[in-house]
Symmetry: C2
Subunit: 302 residues, 2 copies
Amino acid sequence: MSILVVGSVAFDSVETPFGKAEDVLGGSATYFSTSASYFTDVSLVAVVGEDFPDEHVTLLTDRKVDVSGLTKVPGETFRWKGRYDYDLNQAHTLETHLNVFSDFEPEIPEDHRDNDFLFLANIDPELQLKVLDQVTGARFTACDTMNFWIESKIEKVKEVFSRVDLVVINEGEAREFAGEASLVKAAKKVLALGPRIIIIKRGEYGAIMFTETTVFSAPAYPLEEIFDPTGAGDTFAGGMMGLVASTGDISEANIRRAIVLGSTMASFNVEAFSLDRLKDLKTEEINDRYGEFKRLTHFEGL
Amino acid sequence: MSILVVGSVAFDSVETPFGKAEDVLGGSATYFSTSASYFTDVSLVAVVGEDFPDEHVTLLTDRKVDVSGLTKVPGETFRWKGRYDYDLNQAHTLETHLNVFSDFEPEIPEDHRDNDFLFLANIDPELQLKVLDQVTGARFTACDTMNFWIESKIEKVKEVFSRVDLVVINEGEAREFAGEASLVKAAKKVLALGPRIIIIKRGEYGAIMFTETTVFSAPAYPLEEIFDPTGAGDTFAGGMMGLVASTGDISEANIRRAIVLGSTMASFNVEAFSLDRLKDLKTEEINDRYGEFKRLTHFEGL
């Protein structure tokens, strides 16, 4: 089954201890859809400005991403500029220019309104709600958010959480949202709003999933060098939702597999700037690395 | 087979967001030996002052710990005072009074010098070296250390690392020791000194083991409340070495099991101040929680 993703397509300028990249392709929907495209059909809804080059669109269409919902409007594309120091878990935002994104009103193409799987990437929760109003037939919906919305529109964030099946969120943001130092308590507070599952992203420490009755902890792949963490969370979500949609299986056991596949995809993405590594992976290397997660976590009973 | 541990026995005063405890039993060798005592015979070498009450010794002997190497000398017992804020991964030391520990010269009783398993808890690396000089017949040796020694006696720390089979160390200390932000690189630098295995403790994120050819990542048990993290690292090491010694199996597969058992023991210890939880565990609850680690980490192949 196919996934619909609504989020940002952007130009990123990034500095890491290993180098820098200027005005390269970025954005939550870009990373998500490229990652998910290895497993299932993906349609993207986003907006870009007149400065957005065709080659970036080609990168997406080469991955068979349906870009019929990618609107080009007068003005400049959303730009983000950030820096990572040696603590690569923490992005320092230097500049944010919403540009055409500030007037973005997601209009879901008619033929995507009954999509089975929907991912609301990190955008204004009011826009996420507007998408949920349009895509009423989805079987499984998931969302991400960020500290900016938690601090400025927490009631809207809560409303989004109450209307999705799965919340994907960073560790620090989960704690901030719930006002709890304990991650277990924070997860419970989110689940109490309605979603069946919460997946908390912990950067180089991996991810942890909570349902009402179970917990699953997955490590990140231990890389010698994390070249650029930009997009890791969206790449994770793309791989994760990609497997769920491709199998049509929303069982807890399959979500566990999906989390490991998401971590696999994220581990490739951080090996290079922008989508340089993510855009051209082989099925065999994905499967091999998934297998390495098995070896990384295996232990026998007592 | 039995374990010999050399380390500290102390009085701790601890404040956490959940309460405080004053002058309670603590010390690296105390936590280690109590934890290991559930799985094998343990002998402890340490020093205390005249103020050390018999009831604390009884707690150890009740757990069948051999305290013939626990020396009582004139003066006061080592005292540590610390505070944890909501970030329970980070202890803030308020006071350290070495007292009788400042003249400690570990003298290993004759009948423990050919012990098969040796754990050098976090003490001055020069003392760790003196212990290694005395315990020449050990089949498997492990050590811990801390930032204080890395900053003041790094050459001695390196010498200790070069003479043991296994290094157990905190994440921040591993990075500081190696001067590397990448944990993979830090682990390689430690292994290059000689040990076959390094286990890096990551607090609420669990532990990660590196050998020359393999990596194993284990989560921490997700607790709703971490009441007091004091001693968690030594409790981890005690459970881990306890299993290795009790089975006599130093294979990589058994070290993986041992890491999970160490994490199991640490998860109990942080549920209460001092050794209040650790001193009186049932085999069944240990086995049950080990089983929960299995469920916590399980996922199927693609």
